[in-house]
C-alpha cells in the first residue's frame, strides 16, 4: 500500500466524520484512556483540536494512590502496566483538567472508575450536567485494582447492572462501557452492556499478564500482574472487536495496539466506529496526527468518500 504520499489534484476529498451515540466527531481517532492524561503534557506535540476526541485518564470519586512501583515494564512490542488507576479524584479533575480542555475544540470522553457501583454513580452524577464532557466511558475492566472494577466487567449480570445504574445517573450523556478481554466470551459481555442500556462499548482494555525476573527470582511489577498493551495485542483486539460488533447493534470503539493507520483501519473494517491509540503515544507522541493523515490517504487511494463505508466492511 502507498499511504503517507503526495496526492494529486484530481483526488477526492474524503469525509472522515463519524457519528456515535448522537455525537458527531470530525474523525474516528481518539486516544486510549490512561495513555494521554488529559492532554496537558501532550499538547506540546499534538494539536488537540485535530483529534476526533480526547479520552481522559480514569477518574474516581476520591483521590486514588495507585499501586507501588515498579508499575511499568517493557515487553516484546508492548508493555505491561499496573498503575492502579492513580488519579486526583473528580473534584481536582473538574477544576484543573476540564478547565484546561475547555480551551480546545475537541469532544471530551471522560473515563470513570470506581470500587463499587456507588462510586461509579457518584462520578457519573458529578459529570452528567457538565457541558465540557461529551461522553462517559465506564471502566469496568481494569485488571490492576484489587476490589471491584474487573469483577463488574467479567460477570454479565453485574455488568448489566452497573451499566443501567450509570445510565440512570448520566442524564443525557451517552455512556460507553469499556470491556475487558479477560473473558471467555466478549460477545456475551457486549450484549450485557447493550441490555443495560449502554450507548456503545469500547474494547479492548489490557490483557492480564505476568513477567518474572529470572535472576532476582521476583515478579518484575510490584503488583505481580499487569495489563499487557501495545502492538503485541493488536490481533487479539481485531478479533474481539469483530466478535463484539457482530453481537450488538450499538457502536464499538476499537483499541489495542494501534500503531499505524493500517492498524486503525483494520479495527474499523472489523466493526469499530472509532479507534483509540494507546501506549504508542509514549513511543511517538504525535502518532495520532500521522494515523489521521494515513486514514485519509487510504480513503483517497481506495476512492472511499465516506468513512462509514469502511466500518464493518470486512
Amino acid at each position: 500500500m502507498r499511504l503517507y504520499q503526495e496526492k494529486s489534484a484530481g483526488d477526492i476529498e474524503p469525509d472522515l466524520g463519524v457519528d456515535l451515540a448522537g455525537i458527531h466527531f470530525r474523525n474516528p481517532v481518539t486516544v486510549a484512556s490512561g495513555t494521554f492524561g488529559s492532554g496537558i503534557e501532550y499538547s506540546r506535540f499534538v494539536d488537540l483540536n485535530k483529534l476526533g476526541a480526547l479520552t481522559t485518564k480514569g477518574v474516581s470519586r476520591d483521590p486514588w494512590e495507585g499501586n507501588p512501583t515498579p508499575r511499568v515494564t517493557e515487553t516484546p512490542s508492548g508493555m505491561m502496566n499496573a498503575i492502579g488507576l492513580q488519579n486526583p479524584g473528580v473534584d481536582v479533575f473538574i477544576k484543573r483538567d476540564l478547565a484546561f480542555l475547555e480551551e480546545f475544540d475537541v469532544p471530551v470522553i471522560v473515563n470513570v472508575c470506581g470500587h463499587s457501583v456507588g462510586e461509579y454513580e457518584a462520578v457519573v452524577e458529578r459529570l452528567a450536567e457538565d457541558d465540557r464532557v461529551a461522553m462517559l466511558e465506564i471502566n469496568v475492566s481494569c485488571p490492576n485494582v484489587s476490589c471491584g472494577a474487573i469483577q463488574f466487567g467479567t460477570d454479565a449480570g453485574m455488568l448489566m447492572e452497573v451499566t443501567s445504574r450509570c445510565k440512570s445517573k448520566a442524564g443525557s450523556k451517552p455512556v460507553i462501557m469499556k470491556l475487558t478481554p479477560n473473558v471467555t466470551s466478549i460477545s456475551d459481555m457486549a450484549k450485557a452492556a447493550e441490555a443495560g442500556g449502554a450507548d456503545g462499548v469500547s474494547l479492548i482494555n489490557t490483557l492480564t499478564a505476568m513477567k518474572i525476573d529470572i535472576y532476582k527470582k521476583r515478579f518484575v511489577l510490584a503488583n505481580k500482574t499487569g495489563g499487557l498493551s501495545g502492538p503485541a495485542i493488536h490481533p487479539v483486539a481485531v478479533r474481539m472487536v469483530y466478535e463484539a460488533s457482530h453481537a450488538i447493534k450499538i457502536p464499538v470503539i476499537g483499541m489495542g495496539g494501534v500503531a499505524s493507520a493500517e492498524d486503525a483501519l483494520e479495527l474499523m473494517l472489523a466493526g469499530a466506529t472509532m479507534v483509540a491509540v494507546g501506549m504508542m503515544n509514549f513511543t511517538e507522541p504525535d502518532i495520532t496526527g500521522k494515523i489521521i493523515r494515513g486514514i485519509k490517504d487510504y480513503m483517497v487511494l481506495t476512492k472511499t468518500e465516506h468513512i462509514r463505508d469502511i466500518i464493518g466492511a470486512v
Binding site: 490512561g34 495513555t35 494521554f36 492524561g37 503534557e41 501532550y42 506540546r44 506535540f45 499534538v46 485518564k57 483521590p63 486514588w64 494512590e65 495507585g66 512501583t69 515498579p70 508499575r71 511499568v72 515494564t73 517493557e74 516484546p76 512490542s77 508492548g78 508493555m79 502496566n81 498503575i83 492513580q86 488519579n87 486526583p88 479524584g89 481536582v92 501495545g230 502492538p231 501506549m279 504508542m280 503515544n281 509514549f282 513511543t283 507522541p285 504525535d286 496526527g289
Partner: protein, 279 residues
C-alpha cells in the same frame, strides 16, 4: 510537533570508558538549554522495544552551556551509560554517524542558585552510573567558584575494573575528586559515605546520584550532619513526560499534581530534596 523536545540526533563521538560503559556525544541543540540533573529518553530502533531509555545528561555544549571543550564549538550533549539489558545493548552497537530519536531535556534537575549554594561546603556523591549527571553539575558550579566555600566530588566504583570512569573529567574542572571502591582495589575502601567520612570533609550541601540504597544512606547521613541533600531518583518509565504515572516516588507530603503522596520522577524529579521523599 514541537521540534525542541523530540529530535533525531546523530552520534558525533563514541568513547569506550570501561567494560560495558560508553560515552556518546550527540550532535544536536536539543539540550542546549538543559539544566544539570535533567535527562533524555533515547529510543531504540528495534520495533520490539517501544519505550525510551532514560539517561542523564552528562555534558552540554552550545549557546547556554559552554562545556569548554574547545575542539568543537557546536551544539552537542553527552550521555554515559552502562549496558544492562537489550535496549542499552542495542544502543551500544551504534556508531558515529548513526541517528537516534531523542526526547529531552526532561524533568527537574539540581537546584544551584545563589540561595542554595551561597556560603556552602558542597559535596557531590556519585555512585557508579550516578557520576554523569554530577559531572554536568560540576561544570556549571565551577563557572562561579566564588559563590560557594568548597566543592568536592566523591565517586564510588565497584572495583578498579571500572577504570574510575569520568574521574579525570571531574578533576579536569579543578574540583577536588576522591575515589572509593567497594573492594578497596582503588582509592578508599567502602562506599561514598565511608570515603566522605574518612576524608573528614565538611558537607553543608550534598548532591547525590546512584543506586537507591546509597541514596537512602545519603538521606540519613545528611539528616545527622545537618546538611541539605538533593538526590536523583531512578524509576521505571514509560512516557518520560508525566502522562502514564508509571514512575512515581512516595513523597512525605501530598503532591500538588497527583493530589496523593506520589510525585512523578520524570516530571517533578528526578532530583528531589531528600527530606521530601520517602526512601
Amino acid at each position: 510537533m514541537n521540534e525542541m523536545i523530540r529530535k533525531k540526533a546523530k552520534i558525533r563521538e563514541k568513547t569506550y570508558l570501561a567494560p560495558d560503559i560508553y560515552r556518546y556525544s550527540f550532535l544536536t541543540d536539543l539540550c542546549s538549554g538543559a539544566e544539570p540533573g535533567q535527562f533524555v529518553m533515547i529510543y531504540p530502533v528495534n520495533g520490539a522495544r517501544l519505550l525510551g531509555r532514560p539517561l542523564c545528561i552528562a555534558d552540554v555544549s552550545g549557546e547556554d552551556n559552554d562545556s569548554g571543550r574547545a575542539d568543537d564549538p557546536g551544539h552537542y550533549f553527552d550521555i554515559v551509560f552502562r549496558v544492562v539489558g537489550g535496549g542499552t545493548e542495542e544502543i551500544s552497537g551504534y556508531n558515529p554517524g548513526d541517528e537516534l530519536y531523542i526526547e529531552g531535556p526532561l524533568g527537574h534537575g539540581y537546584p544551584f542558585d545563589e540561595k542554595t549554594i551561597g556560603g556552602k561546603n558542597i559535596v557531590m556523591l556519585g555512585g557508579g552510573l550516578g557520576a554523569p549527571s554530577l559531572l554536568f553539575l560540576a561544570k556549571k558550579l565551577m563557572k562561579a567558584p566564588s559563590a560557594f566555600v568548597s566543592l568536592t566530588a566523591v565517586l564510588g566504583y565497584r572495583d578498579r575494573s571500572m577504570n574510575h570512569f569520568l574521574a579525570s573529567d571531574f578533576g579536569g574542572t579543578g574540583i577536588k575528586t576522591i575515589i572509593s571502591t567497594d573492594d578497596g582495589s582503588e582509592g578508599i575502601r567502602g562506599n561514598v559515605i565511608d570515603a566522605l567520612e574518612e576524608s573528614g570533609i565538611k558537607a553543608d550541601l550534598i548532591y547525590a546520584c546512584g543506586p537507591l540504597p546509597m541514596l537512602s544512606a545519603v538521606k540519613r547521613y545528611a539528616k545527622e550532619a545537618g546538611a541539605t541533600a538533593y538526590i536523583s531518583l531512578e524509576e521505571r518509565m514509560a512516557c518520560g513526560l508525566g502522562v502514564c504515572l508509571g514512575c512515581v516516588a512516595k513523597t512525605t507530603e501530598k503532591d500538588a499534581h497527583s493530589g496523593v503522596k506520589n510525585a512523578r520522577v520524570c516530571t517533578e524529579g528526578p532530583v528531589f530534596c531528600a527530606e521530601t521523599v520517602d526512601i
